[in-house]
Symmetry: C2
Subunit: 498 residues, 2 copies
């Protein structure tokens, strides 16, 4: 879509550019970053009235045209609301310094984030419930409350030093979408839920999407108990952390906790599910498109492996007598990159995200190198071939270098196909709003990967700056956020009437 | 030297083999490791009476034959004493679990180690003083106390999960050597000092040999203040840590602290210095030799460098758009190994001892990779060439991979040549004790590297099992320890009379 910039868009573009340049300078403090973000939100607020005004006067403004239920006025999302909420949530970070957001699950900042999300749900007059592991549901009860509902949500936990949009947009967006539908006088038939999932990020416990896996009954209690809590490696477990955060205390054990979170058979609890998310890739921005309609979600696999040598003194141990765990890990890391590139497909990505070296002293030959490797592809078979190659190469390197090798496949989930009825609803909403869109795949995975086992599921992407994500300069513009939330509102409304 | 085993040596060999096999099994707890070590010490104690008895009846037993001062009885070191003391010191570790010793400078376990060393010095009736950074001196005052003294010492700090012998032998050995000389009725002309140096290991502050550098006036106050304290990265400094440990409180500032520790001009404080140490290499054991007479100490260099990319989401960021800091570091790590091997000399060693990856989450493309690289050679020029190659390759990799690069040479010390008079005294002592010996270089570096700028300096090596060091299964046998301490005693005595 090629479009001329409105006066507001011009001012907004300038603000964004200032913010991005500011972030790029790398010298900012957390305080000044947030001050700058506040300024941006303020400039948006100043402009938004006129934007809303324009829209009200525009005959092409979006209206809900469900066959049985006309909507009295357009569904309008204020330009400033969700960015301001994103800013509030970004301030709740485990680490004070720097512009990045760190919000590990079940920490104090996570608790504060939960309180903030619940307060927004309550303000929107949703019926709030939390399940045994802290998944939060805010329900707008429909005219036929016994029908399976329509859900929309994402996560608010954040990996160390990451951005303010990943997950959070999909938590806050649905609440505002529901508020906009209420303002527009819409009455849902099926209830509409705004959701916040627990522990999508694998940072603390090593496994992703704990909440949505539990809803989909795809998580084993013994396995969950076996995972290490990096904040409490000796005595921690997911259940212990949940208990400390005030959840799971009405459950007997981990198995019981998990079964209380299950949403039962496919389609029983939700009739459809949509996750709103920043793209985390560059395609929409580069192609100047507003909405991505996700048709498939790439299959993620996570691998943990270790090389163990005998260590030694960095001065005294001769080179040919060493079995250096780090050099083995370095060789495997280079191979991981090569195997991903070898498929010649953009859809294959492989990352050594974690490499921990022990004992970790400059004058000591590394004895241990513990790696965590992430491999994804929309082609599950091709992904599995890369995983196999990594394991084989690890074994070869270990043999050649006389180091010990161990590995564990933490997860190797299948790719998900999005439900046509949900994709169609999103596409129709974009069309009604005169927003450009395209169908695309999600290379990142999300709670939707598991929600697709609970109900017909789809995802709605909006552009993000240069595709940056999981880093402090992650950014989505206020207009793209407004567009995304309005499209989400229309799609939820139409699915609620289906 | 080829020799038949005595009954004691056979029993001792069996004990050692049990200990080594036990350590190799990798399943031991710290408690059972120490129990096993106690058993070994006990078995040595049982045998030592007869060994001492044999020696007393033996006409070839070592006696001091200084021209002016005959020694009334042989200088005999009990087989059990120093191993038992090493065991006591090994128990004072920052980390309770596992067999390894961790004793970072100025921690509680370091304080306990200091108290133990002072108590041994006091038991040996030495005059104890501690300088402004906690270097400990135990003086046996000679008959001409105004003459420059003879010194012998090493360090008791230990890198994470290392062994019980590195440094500690050279701290405890001189105290027992002095005790043996006292028992033998020897009277020194020059005073003899037993020393314990502060912070030889670079683990906590990034720089090695802080104590001996200060004695040699080779440490800049501004530089020392600039180093990061890994136990207190925000507000720590060496001086702050020293203050908390009870030192430096009679100094004005870091410069003042350092100048109070200086031992002045070459030869002014010490007329000679010897460091007793395990070899930390395999040569003596493989060649079945008892004593190594060190003629030169390899030149160490320490390099800190960082790659910084832009990070990103491990699923969404396409491979060709990445600038992954870890993959850059992996490539450099492999090159570091290659550059050391390329010199085709056993004397060149290069080690990536530290590699820290940020943000360090499996689903995040690494944004930062911070490395610490150790390069050593007895040929300073060849060492510097390897350092230069590493820096150039780092820059090339950074350019090729579009990551940012920074580096800092933390230290690049020259190699040290040992003083012939000290080497000769050690060699003569070994000969008198009928112990096999050879002249050799030290590939590891030690406080002696800096003491060689304070006084004529030499080192006395004893064998250690397979050359293992800086690891939990570091081991030196009781008989090799006894031989080393006796040779040290004779060498100190003869240098005291010079």
């Amino acid at each position: 879509m090629s479009k001329a910039l409105s006066p507001f868009e011009r001012s907004h573009t300038v603000s964004c550019a200032v913010l991005v340049l500011f972030i790029m300078s790398g010298k900012q403090s957390r305080k000044s970053f947030l001050a700058c973000l506040s300024l941006l939100v303020f400039s948006i607020s100043e402009s938004s009235a006129s934007v809303s005004g324009e829209c009200l006067a525009d005959a092409d403004c979006p209206t809900l045209t469900a066959p049985e239920q006309p909507i009295p006025s357009p569904v309008v999302v204020d330009l400033a609301t969700v960015p301001a909420q994103l800013l509030s949530l970004a301030k709740l970070s485990d680490v004070e310094s720097g512009p990045g957001v760190t919000r590990l699950i079940f920490t104090d900042s996570d608790a504060a984030g939960r309180a903030y999300v619940r307060s927004l749900m309550e303000k929107a007059e949703l019926v709030v419930r939390e399940d045994a592991m802290g998944n939060i549901f805010g329900r707008w009860v429909g005219s036929e409350p016994t029908l399976p509902a329509v859900g929309s949500g994402s996560h608010a936990d954040a990996i160390p030093n990451s951005g303010a949009y990943d997950g959070t947009l999909g938590v806050l967006g649905p609440i505002e979408a529901i508020a906009a539908l209420k303002r527009a006088g819409f009455k849902p038939k099926r209830s509409i839920d705004a959701l916040m999932f627990t522990s999508e990020e694998p940072t603390r416990f090593g496994i992703s999407c704990v909440g949505s896996r539990a809803m989909a009954s795809k998580l084993d209690a013994v396995y969950l108990d076996s995972l290490t809590d990096i904040l409490n490696p000796d005595h921690g477990s997911f259940r212990n952390a949940a208990l400390k955060a005030g959840y799971a205390n009405n459950t007997l054990n981990t198995k019981d906790m998990l079964s209380q979170c299950s949403l039962g058979d496919y389609g029983a609890y939700y009739d459809s599910f949509i996750e709103l998310h920043i793209e985390q890739g560059p395609e929409l921005e580069e192609e100047n498109l507003s909405i991505g309609v996700v048709t498939a979600i790439a299959a993620p696999a996570a691998l943990r492996c270790s090389f163990t040598g005998d260590g030694g003194h960095a001065g005294a141990q001769l080179m040919h007598r060493r079995n250096d765990a780090l050099i083995a890990a370095a060789e495997l890391s280079s191979a991981v990159e090569k195997f991903a590139l070898d498929t010649k497909s953009d859809d294959t990505v492989a990352t050594v995200g974690v490499l921990k070296v022990g004992p970790g002293a400059i004058n000591s030959v590394p004895r241990t190198a513990d790696m965590e490797i992430d491999v994804r592809d929309i082609d599950g078979e091709r992904r599995d071939k890369v995983v196999s190659k990594i394991i084989s190469r690890g074994q070869e390197i270990a043999k050649k270098r006389n180091v010990r090798w161990s590995h564990e496949i933490v997860n190797a989930d299948p790719p998900a196909t999005c439900a046509p009825k949900v994709a169609n609803a999103i596409e129709a909403a974009a069309k009604k709003l005169k927003l450009s869109s395209k169908r695309m795949v999600s290379r990142a995975y999300h709670d939707s990967l598991f929600m697709s086992e609970v109900a017909p599921t789809g995802m709605l992407f909006i552009p993000c700056h240069k595709g940056f994500s999981h880093r402090p300069d992650e950014f989505a513009s206020a207009i793209d956020i407004k567009n995304g939330v309005e499209a989400l509102a229309l799609a939820l409304a139409s699915l609620s009437l289906a």
